[in-house]
Symmetry: C2
DNA sequence: AATGAAATGAGGTACGTACGCCAAAATCAT
DNA sequence: ATGATTTTGGCGTACGTACCTCATTTCATT
C-alpha cells in the first residue's frame, strides 16, 4: 500500500483561496468566506442562535445556496456534547400491537444509540388522555429533544402538545395522529388504503359472491373505522356480488371476540369471508374452528403477531396486512433527526408501507 | 411515569466493572487502558493493521467485550479523510428492472453521499462474463473500498472475484448470487418464496379450478427458474384443481412475448390465470387485450415498472410482486458499511422482502 | 551475546462542527 | 456627540477516531 497522507494532499491543492477544494468538501470556513462574514456569524445562522441581523442571515443563506454548502452531519454529531434524546410515550396493556411497538423502540433504539440518539420508553395507562398530557408535561426540554406519542384526540392532549412545542420540544405522532395540533409530523400507515387492499383481495378470493363479515375492536377507534370504510368502498364499487355483514365488535379482547363471532357463525354457516380490522384474532380463530369453518372461509387479518402468524401457518388465515412497527420507529428516527438537526439530516420521508403477508412470504 | 432510559439498562446489566466516565462514552483511551496496551496498538487492532502479536490482539478483543467498547462511527467517519467508494457494475440494456436498479443506485447514492459514501455506476454488456471479470479487475483497491456485481455464474467471474478480494476489496453480489465464491455477501430476494407466494395468491383467486399459464423470459435465468419452481410447488401441493401450462418463453422482449402469448390464448381462451415470472409484461398485456381476456383472467406479475403499474391501475393485473431495488441498494449500503467499517456500522442484515402490490396499496 | 526484525509505545495533527468568551465594530437612543 | 446596545469578529477548545512518525522494547536467529 502506497501510503499517501491525505491531509497533505488537501493542504497543497485546496489550501489557497479556492472556495471549493479539488477533492475536499465545502466547509463552514468556505461558507464564511463566501458570505463575507466570520465563522461565528455563520455558526449563529446555522444553529438559529440570536443576535444576527436579518439582512446578514439572508446573506449567509444566499451563500449557502450559491456554493452548495451542506453541513457535515458526522462532524456535527461529534461536536454536539449531548446525544439526541427522545421520549416515546406508549399506552400500556396487553395489546399485542403496542407490545410490538415497544419492542421495536428497543431494537431500533439499540441501533440508533450507535448514532448518538437515545430512545426512552414511557408507558402510560391505555386510552387515558390526561395521563398522556401529564407525561408530555413532565418532559424537560433541557434534557430532551423531542417526544413521540400515540395520540388521543382530546383537548387536554392538544394543549399539552402545544405547551411542549412551546418549550422547544419536537413532537411526532405515531400510528394515531392529532390533526390540527402543533405536532411537527405524523408517522403511520394509510388505514383507508389498508381497508381497500383487504377489499381487493377478498373480492378476488370470492369470485362466486357470498357474504363477508367484518370484525373490529371498536368503531370508536379511528384506524379501525377507516379500514372498514376503505373495505366497504372497494367491495361496493368493484365486487357487487359480495354482501357485507357486521362489523362484529369485540373490543380487541379474546373472550368477547370469540363469543360474538361464534354466535354470528352459528347463525350464518354459509359465510364466504372474514375481515378483521382489529386485534382479537386469537378469539376469532377459535370461533372459526368451533364452528367448523376454519380453512373454509377466506380470512384477512391485520398485524403480524403470534396468533396471526400461527394462523397463516395453519392455513386458517389467508392474508395478513401489516404495518411494521420497526419501519415506523425508523421513520420516527429519521423524522426526528431532520427536525432536530435540520433538513439535511434524513432522507425525504417515504410513507409507511402496508405490507401484505401470505404464508409463503413470511419473514 | 415510569421512564426507563434504555442505555442505563445496558450499563447495569452488561457493564460489569465498567471503566467509563459518568456521562461520557467508552473511548479508545478507555479501551487502551483496559487492555493494558497503548493507543497505537488499539488502533492497529481496530483497523486490522499488521504488526500485532495474536496474543495481544486477543487481549484487546477481550477488553472490547469486557468494557463494551463500541467505536463511535461519527468520529470514525469524520477522521477518515477519504469517503467510502463503491463501484456498482450493472448489465446494460433496455431491461426495465436493471434500469430501476441503476436509478436506485443513483437515488440511494445521493443520500449515502451525505454519510460519506460514494457510489459509482459502471454498465457492462449484458450477460457477458468476461466483461464483468474485466470490469472487476479494473477496480483499483487504492481508490475503492468495494464492488457490487450482478453475478454471472462463470469461472472467469469466480476468478475475478477472488482476485478482487485478494486486493482487499469487499465484494457484494446483488440480485444474482455467486455461491461458493469469495464474495463477502449477497443481497437479493428468495425467488422460490416469491414463486410460492404467487402460487398461493393464484390458487385462492381461482377456487373453481382451471388452467393457469406460466410466462418467463428464459428458463435459463436462475431467478426465473426458481420462481417457476416455487409456483409449481404450491399449486401442486395445495391447489390440485389447477392445471399448469407453459412456461411460454419470450426472452423478456415485447414482440416475442406478445406473439407467443397471443398464440397460446387463441388456442386456450378458457384460461383462468397467468403468472409471468419475467419482464415482458407489456407484450403480455397487449396479447390479453387482443384475445379479449383482459380483466377476465387473474394475472400475477413481477416488478413494479411502468407497464405493471399501469396494468394494476386498469385492472388487467391483479397483483405485482416486487423486489424493491431501492431496498436492495440500501441493503448493499448497510452491508458494505459493516464490511468496511466493522460490525457496528450497520444494523444486522434483514433479508430483502418480497413486496405484494394491489392497485390499492400502490405507493 | 550480538544482530536484525517484529512488536509496541509515545505523541502529534487532522477531520468539520459546536460552543464559549471577550473584544471590536456598527447601530441605536438620547 | 455620548453612552448604551446590538451585531460581528477572532480565537480557542472539545468531540472520538484515523493515521502518520519516530523511539523503544521484545523476540527469534545466528
Amino acid at each position: 500500500m502506497s501510503s499517501v497522507p491525505l491531509f497533505w494532499f488537501w493542504h497543497f491543492c485546496g489550501g489557497g483561496l479556492a472556495i471549493e477544494a479539488a477533492g475536499g468538501r465545502i466547509t463552514v470556513h468556505d461558507l464564511a468566506r463566501a458570505a463575507g462574514v466570520s465563522l461565528a456569524t455563520v455558526d449563529r445562522v446555522l444553529n438559529g442562535r440570536p443576535g444576527v441581523r436579518p439582512a446578514t442571515v439572508a446573506r449567509v443563506e444566499e451563500a449557502i445556496a450559491r456554493i452548495g454548502f451542506r453541513r457535515d452531519l458526522t462532524a456535527s454529531m461529534l461536536a454536539r456534547a449531548r446525544d439526541i434524546r427522545l421520549a416515546f410515550i406508549l399506552p400500556e396493556g396487553t395489546n399485542q400491537f403496542m407490545a410490538r411497538l415497544a419492542e421495536a423502540v428497543e431494537t431500533v433504539g439499540a441501533q440508533a444509540r450507535g448514532e448518538r440518539m437515545v430512545f426512552e420508553l414511557d408507558r402510560i395507562r391505555s386510552i387515558d388522555a390526561q395521563a398522556l398530557a401529564d407525561a408530555l408535561d413532565a418532559i424537560d426540554a433541557e434534557t430532551h429533544d423531542g417526544a413521540v406519542i400515540v395520540a388521543i384526540d382530546k383537548p387536554a392532549v392538544h394543549a399539552a402538545v402545544a405547551r411542549a412545542v412551546g418549550r422547544g420540544l419536537k413532537i411526532v405522532t405515531l400510528v394515531s395522529d392529532l390533526p390540527g395540533s402543533a405536532r411537527h409530523a405524523f408517522v403511520g400507515i394509510d388505514n383507508v388504503a389498508a381497508g381497500r387492499t383487504a377489499g381487493g383481495l377478498m373480492g378476488r378470493f370470492c369470485p362466486n359472491g357470498g357474504r363477508v363479515v367484518l370484525v373490529a375492536g371498536s368503531m370508536g377507534l379511528i384506524d379501525h373505522a377507516e379500514r372498514v370504510s376503505g373495505f366497504r368502498d372497494i367491495i361496493g364499487s368493484e365486487f357487487p356480488g359480495l354482501e357485507i355483514s357486521g362489523p362484529i365488535e369485540g373490543q380487541d379482547a379474546f373472550a368477547l371476540t370469540y363469543e360474538n363471532a361464534l354466535a354470528f357463525f352459528r347463525e350464518n354457516p354459509d359465510i364466504a369471508g372474514v375481515y378483521n380490522v382489529g386485534a382479537g384474532n386469537a378469539g376469532l380463530i377459535m370461533a372459526l374452528a368451533e364452528a367448523g369453518l376454519a380453512g373454509k372461509v377466506r380470512f384477512v387479518a391485520h398485524e403480524l403477531t403470534g396468533p396471526t402468524r400461527a394462523g397463516l401457518g395453519s392455513g386458517v388465515i389467508d392474508v395478513v396486512l401489516d404495518q411494521s412497527p420497526e419501519d415506523e420507529v425508523r421513520a420516527v428516527w429519521a423524522a426526528m433527526r431532520r427536525l432536530v438537526l435540520g433538513p439535511d439530516a434524513a432522507p425525504p420521508e417515504t410513507p409507511i408501507e402496508i405490507k401484505v403477508f401470505l404464508r409463503d412470504n413470511l419473514r
